[in-house]
Amino acid sequence: MNTTEFINRNSADFMILATIIGSVVMFGGAAVLAMGWAFRHRQFENFQQGAQSIFGPDEPIGETTDEFPRVVSDSCDP
């Protein structure tokens, strides 16, 4: 391996490392900022309540909405 090749090869490694570290910092930073934003804007308040949004007065929590369609004679089936 001659000198130029050696430098080329190692600079490629360095580039990969720099890219990986760079992207980790960039995306990690974005994630941290996003979390900060979410907390500041109270995205997590009453969070669990969101899960109830699919229910309504006509299909309230506690009522099932789907049955195995039973034929009439089949109705003694549990």
């Binding site: 969101g50 109830q52 949004s53 229910f55 006509d58 909405t65 789907d66 049955e67 195995f68």
Partner: protein, 488 residues
């Protein structure tokens, strides 16, 4: 909104009316997408069974170029992977987005146009492949004239989804909507990049398979999976009448899936002529997938806890829960498969085929059947004609996919072990596999039988042969005074 105030009959009726109106507005476009999807499922099933038989009986239907194994196999993948799956995903996205945003469907004609684009694309795709225009790029076998149709179709659906979302009257954005919004954004990007870099402006050499597997894996991971998982997040709580166990877990599940799933895919090229760090990056991504999968699994299990007896009654729930369990199983298996040591054996074998079908069938397709059984009666105003046929459908599919998975997993594993040992000649491996391939054909036949039952039910429902839904859209609430008949 949360139902903290006591319900009055008026509230109930108003709410039921609103839901009914939304469903009625969805009727034509959603059923168009869903029945088209079901049609392509049937086409794909027939093609799949033919391809499967050909693998152990090479003289079966030989002689014509159209029915040679390679073409039938590609057409099978396109029919089920692009016809059935993508059209069903769009049907689910449209209906769920309308219901969850609490707005009536807008621009129905535009959606029908988009569906027609997709159908034309699919016809050209399957016919083109069978007549010899296939591309031999996995998941992207469609002939060169097909992608414009798909891009137009999905582009319209994506834009429509965003437009509907912006008109939402429900303040809260439910977890299912997160998944839908992300998926309709990811897929057009993913597809366009893949078509661009492989066909329109081909990248050099091995970049093509890199793009190919980034697409192939993310097609499942960022298009089908988000919407199928989103569907389970809607169907399971709705059917058992109980909110998702932990909304925090669902948010962790969503964001970790978004981050890690997109990094998987290169493990399909482990040992291949690509930079080693690429495969390693994907292995890391695959291992991290344990986080979203465990989050979703815990969440569904805890939501279901105490309601498992409902699996006996509700077809929608039974199919959906089967799908959800398969999701956990297939994802765990997928993470393990991405490990280099494991991949050294399983890579070029039927083991991968078994895994793919556990994902595409056991998880995705079963979940979508669950949605079918819940959604279609609400759209047509008809109940399913025969519970017996639903049972036939479920058991044929459940047993069929189990036989399929078990036989090909065992056969594929030993195929890999034998391929790794150069002292075992090829003929022995081929001969050894025959029994497993035969079992797979049987499983395929069983699944086909299930699909026949499903098709009968669907046709009967669309033709109006079922019992009318009574007591308003909340079918099970019989004691409550009726809000009036739903007229189909």
């Amino acid at each position: 909104m949360a139902t903290t105030t006591p319900l009055t009959q008026t509230d109930r009726e108003r709410s039921a009316l609103e839901r009914r109106e939304i469903d009625a507005s969805c009727r034509v476009p959603v059923l168009y997408f869903a029945t088209s999807a079901a049609f392509w499922l049937l086409v794909g099933t027939v093609l799949g069974i033919i391809a499967s038989i050909k693998l152990h009986s090479p003289y079966f239907l030989t002689g014509s170029p159209e029915l040679t194994f390679g073409r039938v196999r590609m057409a099978h993948l396109q029919a089920v992977g692009v016809g059935w799956s993508a059209m069903m995903v769009m049907a689910a996205a449209i209906w769920l987005m309308c219901r969850l945003s609490r707005v009536a469907l807008i621009y129905p004609t535009l959606l029908v146009f988009a569906g027609t684009m997709w159908n034309i694309g699919m016809i050209a795709d399957v016919v083109g492949i069978l007549s010899g225009d296939a591309q031999s790029v996995e998941w992207l076998d469609a002939p060169s004239y097909v992608p414009p149709f798909f891009i137009t179709g999905v582009g319209i659906v994506s834009a429509w989804t965003v437009a509907t979302f912006r008109r939402r009257r429900e303040l809260h954005v439910y977890v299912t909507q997160w998944y839908i919004l992300a998926a309709v954004f990811w897929f057009p990007w993913l597809y366009t990049v893949a078509v661009l870099m492989i066909f329109w402006m081909p990248a050099t050499g091995v970049i093509q398979p890199v793009v190919n597997w980034w697409f192939g894996h993310n097609y499942l991971g960022l298009w089908l999976t988000p919407i199928a998982v989103g569907t389970t997040y809607y169907i399971i709580p709705k059917v058992i009448g109980r909110p998702v166990h932990s909304y925090y877990l669902s948010i962790i599940g969503f964001w970790s899936l978004a981050l890690f799933y997109s990094w998987a895919g290169m493990h399909h090229l482990i040992g291949g002529p690509i930079p080693a760090w690429l495969a390693t990056a994907s292995t890391v991504g695959s291992m991290m997938m344990f986080i979203p999968v465990i989050a979703v699994a815990i969440n569904h299990h805890m939501t279901m806890l105490g309601s498992f007896q409902r699996l006996k009654y509700s077809p929608a729930l039974r199919f959906t829960v089967f799908g959800a369990i398969s999701y956990t199983a297939v994802s765990f298996q997928g993470s393990i498969e991405a490990l280099k040591d494991f991949s050294e054996v399983a890579h070029f074998t039927h083991y991968t085929v078994a895994h793919a079908h556990l994902g595409m069938y056991g998880f995705f397709t079963m979940t979508m059947f669950g949605l079918f059984y819940y959604m279609v009666p609400r759209l047509t105003g008809r109940e399913w004609a025969s519970p017996t046929l639903i049972r036939v459908h479920f058991w044929c599919d459940a047993i069929g996919i189990t036989i399929y998975f078990v036989s090909l997993s065992i056969g594929g594993w030993w195929q890999g072990r034998m391929l790794n040992n150069p002292n075992i000649p090829m003929p022995n491996i081929i001969e050894y596999l025959l029994r497993f391939l035969f079992a797979r054909s049987l499983a395929g036949g069983l699944i086909g039988l299930g699909h026949l039952a499903f098709a009968l039910l669907l046709v009967a429902n669309l033709m109006g042969w079922g019992r009318q839904r009574s007591g308003g859209p909340t079918y099970f609430v019989e004691p409550a005074p009726n809000a009036g008949d739903v007229q189909g």
